[in-house]
């Protein structure tokens, strides 16, 4: 699994993508969030952190498919 990173999450990870490998314990958006916060505590200090699955804001209970396009959405600031 690969996650696209934007804005400050790119700075936190030090890359524009994050590879999860075959992490079988990550089945839902909620699992992914817990894994991220454990590995990158700085993400917990953000105002918010949404996760997008296939270009849509995902709910915590949504499944994470290996083929899906995953992305981290830190607080947006367009306009």
């Amino acid at each position: 699994m690969e996650i696209l990173l934007f804005g400050i999450t790119k700075d936190i990870v030090g890359n524009d993508t994050l590879h999860l490998g075959d992490n079988a314990s990550i089945r839902t958006v909620s699992d992914l969030r817990k894994w991220l916060l454990a590995k990158y505590p700085a993400m917990g200090e953000l105002r918010s952190l949404a996760i997008a699955v296939d270009n849509r804001f995902a709910e915590d209970s949504d499944p994470v498919h290996p083929a899906a396009e995953l992305a981290l959405i830190p607080p947006v600031s367009g306009g």
Binding site: F6, G7, I8, R56, V76
Partner: protein
């Protein structure tokens, strides 16, 4: 609707698109780069977009506006890349038969864009750079 992420905002293109024989009102909102943030001098700005999702989200907002109000045409343009003070960075345009619908829809669109469209602004000061709104 005309929904785009662009290098530069073209006001004429937006206005031409919005014109319609049935429209008695054309409302344009243009957001520009301010020279200050929290009393500090901004030297430059940079916008990053999650291109595919940002376009889908802007399209979704335009459809919502068309459901809420009777509109002729809707334009949403947002820049990406580096911008200097004074440059336009976002344009919302709405045309409608009467002015009230276009005023209200225009405000709805810019307010929602700022909350829900995956675009990020980085402000560059003399001594550092900051992702806007990232931290509480």
């Amino acid at each position: 609707m005309l929904i785009r992420i662009v290098d530069h905002i073209d006001l004429n293109e937006a206005y031409e698109y919005l014109q319609s024989p049935t429209a008695g009102a054309v409302n344009l909102f243009i957001g520009t780069v301010r020279n200050q943030s929290n009393d500090k001098q901004v030297v430059q700005l940079s916008f990053e977009t999650y291109h595919s999702m940002a376009l889908k989200q802007m399209e979704k907002l335009a459809l919502e506006a068309q459901e809420k109000w009777k509109l002729d045409k809707v334009v949403i343009l947002h820049v990406e890349g580096e911008k200097k003070v004074g440059e336009p960075v976002v344009l919302i345009g709405v045309s409608s038969a009467h002015r009230q619908a276009s005023f209200e829809a225009c405000r709805f669109l810019i307010d929602e864009l700022k909350e829900t469209v995956p675009i990020w602004k980085k402000e560059f000061f003399e001594d550092k750079s900051v992702w806007v709104n990232a931290h509480p």
